[in-house]
Amino acid sequence: MIRFSKIVFTITVTLLIIWILPWCYQFLTTTKTDTPFTLYSGVINDFAFIEHADKGLTYKDVKNQVYSEHEFDSILPLFFYRQLLSEERLPNRLFGVDLTPRLIQTENFNFRIDPNAVNTPSIGLYPLLESMSGRVDLEMPDDVFRLSERMEFIDIETNAINEFKTNVFTQMLQKKGFKFPAKSIAGNPTDRKEYDEGYLILDAEHNLFHVKQVKRRPYVRKIEIPKQVLVQHMFLTEFKNRKFLAFVSDSQQRFWVLETQTYTFKQVDIPSFDPACMSMSIIGNMFDWTIIVNDGKTKRYFAIDASNYHCIKSLTYEEPELTPMQKFGLYLFPIQLYFTEPTSPLIFPRWTLSWF
């Protein structure tokens, strides 16, 4: 008994040491790592960025040409359109398209994928908004649904299953070939958006369905997935421009756009992207998108042509070199135990071996 106690004690102390000491050391030796705000400019056909220096902000492009703030706004007219508008400097046409503030606003979008959110297990209850209520604003519904062996609607006030609605939706799904139980589901369960496109649901056989509620009736549409594409993660977008329904990543880490009108998949020309461990931001406008992919070490920028999703240019910011103190830390603590990590909210012991 006592010997077992001593073993438990020794193991506990060892684990605590390899958890706490490296953490303390890192806490004391952390340095600020910053990458400048970078965006692709269709005007100069290259990336431009804002650097933070001691004397303030510096506006540059990749060729190291320096701009004034005034000039910088002009090379990114669709991003700084409000500033240009207020100074009456907004161009009337750009790349053969008549520009209006309304058009720019509609076509601009921002999108973000955070691995933390991707790795958060879903609760399993989803509100299905009415997508054509006839009202300007969306309203949160008074029920939620779960996907078990059927699409079950639970009335919130009574906490009881609405059998009628459940049957209506379940039967419609089954009629369209949906096989329960579902594998995954994607949507935006909020009323703070322009419109509602319901949910994308992957069934038991990896078939993809678009499901929404239209005038209290189920709308279900099976979406053809390209051959050899196994959908892994889906992100319903619901942007103002209504051009694309979702972004999708597959098992081979390819990134796709699912277009709204045609329900067709178009691959975006970026290298492997795994949403479970990489973050992505997209700052998009009607002509081009700047996609930023961060895998924790390297930040890569891709300029994507909005008309065909081909990559125009790319830029990489390598992880800054470790300071001597940080390098020494890796030798001092060959094994590090940690319970939290930036890409997942889950608490679980993980370790790294820094000598290998």
Binding site: I123, V144, I156, N159, I347
Partner: protein
């Protein structure tokens, strides 16, 4: 064994009754709060906040089991260490490990009863107003806090029964670090995958107080 339970009961009954009362009152307060918000802002709002903003409405009791565990141990074992009264129990014609084990078992049983009552209280109400997924979200999140209650009890006992102050301090530091693991995140259900291992470890840790008692019996000095 019954006699030891009897002795522990006499020693600690008022504390455990108070702990049960306080914890159930706080649970009741949390549940009343849910009712109140439902009244004021509607059930839809409550569900929405739970689904989209990680609310679970029982944050108030997050540290309650942890504190109950510590106090239970202090109430049970500080009197034993005052003037080394534990010698009276260790002198009994009953195995030393069994004696201490019985005392620990008593504490664990009482805590189990109190914590179980808390859960029962919560589940009965929550099941009426929330879907199963939301109830399990709340309960699984709270489970970690209650497990911390058992761990804090065992670790505090380990510290109390240790005869030397120097070692008590070391044990205290270790205990603080271990308990910290249970409170690394406030986000609901993030401990789900780790939970079985945490339960196992808590069970294993119950052996540490026996080592403290052996050190006491050896007359270990600072």
């Amino acid at each position: 064994m019954k006699a030891l339970f009897y002795k522990e009961w006499i020693k600690t009954r008022w504390f455990f009754l108070a702990a049960a009362l306080v914890s159930l009152t706080l649970c009741e307060y949390c549940l009343l709060n849910i009712s109140r918000i439902t009244e004021l802002k509607g059930a839809v709002h409550v569900w929405e906040v739970m689904l989209t903003r990680d609310a679970i409405f029982i944050q108030l009791i997050r540290f309650v089991p942890f504190l109950i565990g510590i106090l239970a141990s202090l109430v049970q074992f500080v009197p034993e260490m005052q003037q080394k009264r534990i010698k009276l129990t260790l002198h009994l014609p009953y195995s030393q490990n069994k004696s201490i084990g019985t005392m620990l078992l008593f504490g664990i049983l009482l805590l189990t009863i109190i914590f179980f009552l808390n859960f029962l209280f919560l589940i009965v109400y929550l099941n009426q107003v929330f879907a199963l997924e939301l109830v399990s979200r709340i309960i699984l999140t709270a489970f970690v806090w209650y497990l911390a209650g058992f761990l804090s009890y065992l670790l505090t006992t380990w510290i109390c029964l240790e005869p030397t102050w120097k070692r008590r301090m070391i044990n205290l530091l270790i205990a603080v670090a271990l308990l910290r693991v249970f409170f690394l995140s406030e986000t609901p259900e993030v401990y789900n995958t780790f939970l079985p291992f945490m339960v196992l470890y808590t069970v294993i840790v119950s052996i540490l107080p026996l080592w403290s008692v052996q050190r006491f019996k050896d007359g270990t000095q600072d």
